[in-house]
Subunit: 208 residues, 4 copies
């Protein structure tokens, strides 16, 4: 059982996030899924296939950390396990956002297989929690896209157990996953990643 | 004779679609035309030459499937037959949108004559009705632009009779046609196509 | 003497145009100037140096066709003569818009000196008054920028006397001039030019 | 002691500037900082780490020209000294804006070390105070990014003491600093710089 008021607060944060992310063009065509923690065992998460710029009361459901619906007949995203793995791994995480931008898609396809995206020398790296200088490196692993979500979930669990300080990952041709203590932290991470992806692509255009 | 309430509902969906598509920059300078099915023999369609971001009550008329005005003195788009062919061919289609974006225009001109645009490996392909994996291929034929709309209409009829599962086509230097069961499906297709066109162009910029 | 109501209508069209053009990014940083015809001998025109997205009652003045202020202590743009030449040359012209976009600026600098921009094969050419096929050519002359506005005005007069069917011109590193019978026609021309400039640049990026 | 009404007016200008700059994408992810002069010895400045699109009453504090908080427990930006140096150097300066755009970031990284950005031949250079022709040159020095703000502050002081007519500077991989007599002048400078940065990058894409 979960606290209904905490569910309502989490759902509200998700609805607001959707308006912002859709308007920025990062969640087009009913893509993307978002979640927020209710308690140690429950998360609120978007129902599969909804328009992210027009989320409403009926578009956010509850699942447990195994990804099973709780008190709901709806179906959550096929990628629910990619969310729950992060809540399991990082007890302090309060929100996870998965977005689909053109920049994330293209950049993830341009990188050679097996090579992470390395972000370095950008002042904006300081937008990530725990980073207080532009002199470090942010490593963004790029996992191959797969419809086998359980396998992908285990890959991400293994990678982030080994690199808990890194703030997100890409799935090739697909999109970004990032997280934070609060929804505001998580949205700031999305903004920072999108900014840095655009910087990387803009640079590649001039120096391919 | 057609049901006037169904006309009004169709016209309203068209007006709303226009606001969205114009605001996104996909229907500039009075270009584009949109339609929605009223019944088996009638469609609502935009009057020729109107500003798509400011459509109002007088900007949507009725035509039959031969493209003839019904209970109207207005003139529909010169491209009306490109719409009606699709309603004839696919009885389940409820809406057709024709848009003019920079990306669709440029991409259609960059492709070698006779070669379709092939979209492959993008998660966002799942936004198209009937697609549930990124592993398939979406084929987008590119027809040469022509002011002989009847001839162009027959070309599209022949191609889509042979490829009914494909969700849209381009006219070179001109724009996109796509369709769906409902206006929402159709708008999702436009968004998905524009996203994928931008991905393709963005990739070409780095790897010409 | 001019009709005050006609002035007010012209000024209102200019204020509205400014909101649109500024919001699109085509009149940044107090650049640009706009005018609308009041009668055969008077035009309403923006006062020099005003913020184009926030034009108000005091930001539109009257000048005669020689560019002299009428019933006003304000100073109109240094480029006023580039407007009045067009009203002299084309009695049917009701509005002239001069905008400063990134695309117009860059494209005008990339073209070899003495060479016009040729727009060809684009369906959107039909947005220009008098064009009803994509098969023609729109020629856009590019004049060198100059602070000697009288000389520049005479260059444009000579060119458009010889090519009255062409809808606009560029000044290198500076911006676009276009016109129309009504402000709506003129705004449609700006939209069409900006679309086509973007198409040209987008193509050059892939095929330099 | 400072006049509280003057503080309130300065704070209001900063809040409004933030809404504009965030909406344009030039202050993402809680980056950037803004200030406005209260009197010869005090400036209003944003509190560190706030969301620039949602600044409110509690997000603007007062510091003296040595950068020390006045009547406040808050912490101003680590870069406060980069603001105060400019107020010390130029008694007529009333506002300083520091923004983080993709264009400024990428362009500053693409320029060879030690080389300023030279802007030349653009009509929009006239948007800078004191420039009345496109024929001059705007020089924008690019300082290496550093977490040693005092050292950076002294570098900027030395450079602008020698070049007081230049309107701004870049920090590599970081962003833009510009200033003006009023907040409106300063915002016009940001718009002009962003326009010109985009022109430069757009040109490099075609002619790398």
């Amino acid at each position: 059982m979960f606290d209904v008021t905490r569910y309502a607060v989490a759902a509200d944060a998700i609805v607001e996030a959707g308006r912002f992310l859709y308007q920025r063009g990062w969640s087009p065509a009913t893509s993307s899924n978002y979640s927020a923690r209710i308690d140690e065992r429950h998360i609120a998460i978007t129902v599969s296939g909804r328009h992210k710029g027009r989320l409403g009361a009926g578009d956010v459901m509850v699942v447990d950390l195994a990804g099973r619906p709780v008190q709901s007949q709806c179906r959550s995203s096929a990628e629910t396990r990619l969310h729950t793995v992060l809540y399991e791994l990082f007890p302090e995480v309060g929100a996870v956002l998965h977005t689909h931008s053109v920049k994330a898609t293209v950049l993830s396809c341009l990188l050679p297989p097996g090579q992470p995206l390395t972000l370095e020398g950008y002042e904006l790296q300081k937008a990530f929690v725990g980073v207080d200088t532009h002199e470090g490196r942010v490593q963004v692993p790029v996992f191959d896209n797969s419809q086998d979500i359980d396998a992908l979930a285990e890959q991400t669990r293994a990678w982030f157990r080994a690199h808990p300080e890194q703030p997100g990952y890409l799935i090739r041709g697909h999109g970004l996953y990032t997280w934070g203590r609060t929804m505001d932290d998580c949205l700031r991470h999305v903004e920072a990643f999108e900014f840095l992806f655009e910087c990387e692509l803009e640079t590649m255009r001039v120096r391919p």
